[in-house]
């Protein structure tokens, strides 16, 4: 099973440019056409399962709008918890 991850897109920064959407290797992102940011853009969001936390979306984002989280593999998680 691949690593699991998720992202948070900041509504403050996102300008809906779709660079992340197009770069995401898992194709799990899309623009939220229902919603406008305070600056009037449709923000990007995680719109399907399958995010691996690979951070590629963050690497291409010109607005540093994305924070990426990744599952801590069980073994390390235990170590960390210890």
């Amino acid at each position: 099973m691949p690593v699991r991850g998720w992202i948070e897109v900041s509504e403050k920064y996102c300008k809906g440019c779709e660079l992340c959407v197009s770069a995401c290797p898992q194709k799990v992102m899309s623009l939220d056409m229902e919603h406008l940011t305070p600056k009037g853009y449709h923000p990007a969001r995680l719109s399907a399962d399958g995010c691996t936390g690979c951070a590629i979306c963050a690497i291409v984002c010109p607005e540093a709008a994305i924070a990426v989280y990744r599952e801590i593999p069980a073994r390390r998680a235990r170590a960390v918890a210890a």
């Binding site: 809906g16 291409v60 010109p62 540093a64 989280y69 801590i72």
Partner: protein
């Protein structure tokens, strides 16, 4: 998106950024270049000893986005201004961030001489094949045949001259310690760009002379393309003319490996 597994933060907005939202057009890779610089400052722990020099161009407000000291230069003169700062504060890290109109057109004398002097500064050079800020006029980097608002019939090299390959040209100078070209059009290239920026600052910290990273960058607004199309334009049109590569690497840097 709620999760129920233990997780760690693998990427977040760099600390060397302020909270300001950029004024760049959506999808413009100026933002990516900024982010990479901020990440490198974070990783190298340089924020508090760095002084940036902003250009006149779309990046004129760069100083709003970096959480370090900054000055704003006259059009094209950022290398001279950076020189003045560096000479007064040799132990600080000084970098300029310049567009292709700024650096390769009006500022040509200043960049050549900063390089020739081996001035110990780092230059982030954004090549987007036009003058973004003033509405898309021809730049020294505008491709042959490319239409801009001041080459409305396409750049006629007979009349308007040939594009300048700046990195190649500056690499001929003895004072240049690190001169490379990278691109911002996809994740792999962005990663390499970041390594290059890291090496450029590394060169400065080690006193190896002038360092410059030329970055192929998009200008969706003036190219009349969507941000994603613009990335393809970089790949398909710009890279063939402006080959990516290392044009000058001081021997002391060659050993260095950046993860």
């Amino acid at each position: 998106m709620a999760t129920n597994f233990p997780a760690e933060l693998v990427y977040q907005r760099p600390e060397s950024f302020t909270e300001a939202l950029t004024h760049y057009c959506p999808g413009c890779t100026h933002g990516v270049a900024h982010r990479l610089v901020a990440e490198v400052l974070d990783e190298m722990g340089l924020r508090e000893k760095t002084i940036g020099v902003a250009p006149v161009g779309c990046a004129v407000f760069a100083y709003n986005y970096f959480d370090c000291d900054f000055v704003e230069a006259a059009h094209g003169r950022a290398p001279a201004m950076a020189t003045g700062i560096k000479r007064m504060l040799p132990d600080r890290v000084v970098f300029t961030y310049q567009g292709d109109g700024d650096l390769a057109s009006i500022g040509m004398a200043e960049i050549v001489h900063a390089a020739a002097r081996g001035e110990n500064i780092s230059v982030i050079f954004i090549n987007n094949a036009n003058y973004g800020m003033t509405g898309g006029q021809m730049a020294p980097t505008t491709l042959p045949g490319q239409k801009t608002t001041s080459s409305p019939y396409g750049r006629d090299v007979e009349q308007m001259g040939f594009p300048i390959r700046t990195a190649e040209m500056l690499a001929t100078l003895d004072g240049a310690g690190y001169v490379v070209r990278r691109s911002l059009h996809d994740p792999k290239n962005i990663r390499q760009a970041k390594k290059a920026i890291h090496l450029a600052f590394e060169a400065q910290v080690r006193g190896l002379g002038f360092s410059m990273v030329e970055l192929l960058s998009t200008c969706p607004t003036n190219w009349g393309l969507t941000p994603v199309e613009a990335l393809h334009w970089v790949e398909e049109r710009m890279i063939p003319f402006f080959p990516l590569g290392d044009y000058k690497i001081a021997p002391a840097l060659e050993e260095l490996r950046i993860r």
